[in-house]
């Protein structure tokens, strides 16, 4: 116990300072909580959506998806999320494949049937399929193939993979933009509010800080004390923010989060925490320097 040995440690002073103005300490931590939570959520959602799209594309490796009329939405969902709602297997695989071959659709490499009667990622289907995956040569132009298929198989609906993904990405863009704007605003608010809260905390403890200076605290000690106090509150708040953001995202967009690679979770969590704490420390620097440079006797009098 450092106290029993007779020396007061900085940890004791930090605890005393945080306990002294509990509400302002809580407000400081709350600001970091919101900032870190928003940033973490935005990063996770962005990463999840990107990875989900990439994964679906690379998993299907098909440039075109063919369905019966009314099945395009399910095919698009399969494409963008890797999972589709149940869809009846009504496509005669051999017949459609023959019509494409005999019609001479340019650039077709292979055709695969997929049974989505159970929904989800589906199972290979040889006779009756819910979706037909059409693989094209690299040089082939999907638009030409689509035009030919629509002539040869009028009952088919054609979904162009790249087009659909681009469309989904376009739809997601404003959501992600707002999310990142929210994160930016939260970070800015962190700087402003943390600076304001620290200024108030320093002002209300002007007397004590001045007294410490007179007792022998160096400027660097007071600077470290003020920064450490804000840093501790910010770390605590940001940690809770990351955890809260994670739970919120799991609740609201759990499917999307499952696509975020394992290592990225930690990277985004640590990144959000470090960015938030760095912002809070940056905002604390000004008031901390003022605290370290104050004239103790003047501070003692004005503090009253």
């Amino acid at each position: 116990m450092p106290r029993e040995r007779g020396r007061l440690t900085m940890a004791t002073l930090l605890r005393a300072g945080i306990r002294r103005s509990r509400w302002r300490s809580a407000a400081g931590a709350l600001v970091s909580l919101i900032a870190a939570g928003t940033l973490f959520s935005a990063l996770m959602l962005f990463s999840g959506m990107q990875t989900a799209l990439d994964a679906s594309l690379s998993k299907l490796r098909a440039e075109l998806l063919l369905t019966q009329r009314g099945g395009a939405a399910a095919a698009a969902q399969l494409l963008t999320t890797g999972s589709a709602p149940p869809l009846e297997p009504t496509i005669p695989v051999a017949d459609w494949e023959r019509r494409m071959r005999e019609g001479g659709v340019v650039g077709v490499v292979a055709v695969e049937g997929l049974d989505l009667s159970e929904g989800g990622a589906g199972a290979p289907a040889a006779e009756r399929a819910s979706v037909l995956l059409v693989h094209l040569e690299q040089w082939a132009t999907p638009a030409f193939a689509v035009a030919e298929i629509e002539l040869l198989i009028p009952e088919a609906e054609v979904v162009v993979a790249e087009q659909t993904v681009r469309q989904v990405a376009r739809q997601l863009e404003p959501i992600l933009r707002y999310l990142f704007i929210g994160a930016g605003v939260a970070m800015l608010a962190t700087v402003l509010l943390t600076g304001l809260i620290t200024s108030v905390r320093v002002a209300e403890r002007r007397t004590v800080l001045g007294m410490m200076r007179a007792m022998g605290a160096s400027q660097s000690f007071l600077l470290r004390l003020t920064l450490a106090e804000s840093g501790l509150l910010s770390i605590g708040g940001a940690l809770l923010g990351v955890v809260a953001g994670l739970f919120l995202m799991l609740l609201l967009a759990g499917d999307t989060l499952t696509h975020v690679p394992q290592g990225e979770w930690l990277r985004y969590g640590v990144g959000s925490l470090v960015a938030t704490v760095a912002m809070a420390l940056l905002a604390t620097l000004g008031p901390a320097i003022r605290a370290a440079r104050m004239d103790p006797l003047e501070a003692a009098r004005r503090g009253r």
Partner: protein
């Protein structure tokens, strides 16, 4: 020994330059009890801050035991202040979330680990200022006079040779004021150098020397 050589300090106030201390040269010998009086705004606190190395003079030198304190780095000057000088403020300025004993031990936070006196020293000082058994209480459980005595114990923790007091009797009732002055005189008899700033002319007679500050100039009282 504290020496001030041509020390001057000016302030900007309302667009005007105010001379808080004008080219003062003087010495406070070891074991002296110097009382500095003057009207409000005469520069008494500035004088004390200059002696304690809390503010930098515009010109001149402040020497403690022959060492020009402004030749030292802030860390060295702060450590020197922690080892040699105790401060008593107009207000007790105790930390409300620390116990009374922890408040007394506050200066140990600024000392190197090996130099910190044991907790027993804080308890002995509390006993010396008439607050035996109060160590575990919180500051808000004490009266204003008791809090001031805790502040005195805190100033004495590191066994300083110099005690600087800024209006230490302000806000105190007559009896507590007398007790505090008796304690100061006792400390002075034991060899401690004391420089006390006060607006009370009555307390001036308690010191071994009386300085009067007026318009930035220091005069010795007859």
């Amino acid at each position: 020994m504290i020496q001030l050589e041509g020390v001057a300090k000016r302030y900007q106030a309302g667009g005007q330059v105010v001379e808080a201390l004008a080219e003062y040269t003087g010495t406070v010998e070891d074991g002296e009890f110097v009382v500095v009086t003057g009207r409000s705004g005469a520069g008494k606190s500035t004088f004390l801050s200059l002696i304690g190395g809390l503010i930098r003079p515009d010109s001149g030198r402040v020497l403690i035991d022959g060492q020009d304190i402004w030749q030292l780095s802030d860390a060295e000057r702060s450590l020197m202040r922690c080892r040699t000088t105790g401060f008593v403020f107009q207000f007790a300025s105790l930390i409300p979330t620390l116990t009374v004993a922890e408040n007394v031990m506050l200066p140990t936070a600024f000392l190197p680990a090996g130099e910190a006196p044991p907790k027993q020293r804080a308890l002995e000082l509390l006993e010396q200022v008439g607050l035996a058994g109060y160590g575990d209480r919180m500051p808000w459980q004490l009266s204003g006079g008791q809090q001031k005595r805790v502040a005195v114990a805190r100033a004495l923790l590191n066994r300083p040779r110099i005690l600087l007091a800024d209006e230490p009797t302000a806000d105190l009732d007559e009896q507590t004021e007398q007790e505090l002055m008796a304690l100061f005189q006792s400390l002075n008899r034991d060899g401690m150098t004391i420089v006390m700033v006060t607006h009370s002319a009555e307390l001036a007679s308690l010191g071994s020397r009386h300085l009067i500050l007026s318009g930035g100039r220091v005069q010795s009282a007859p």
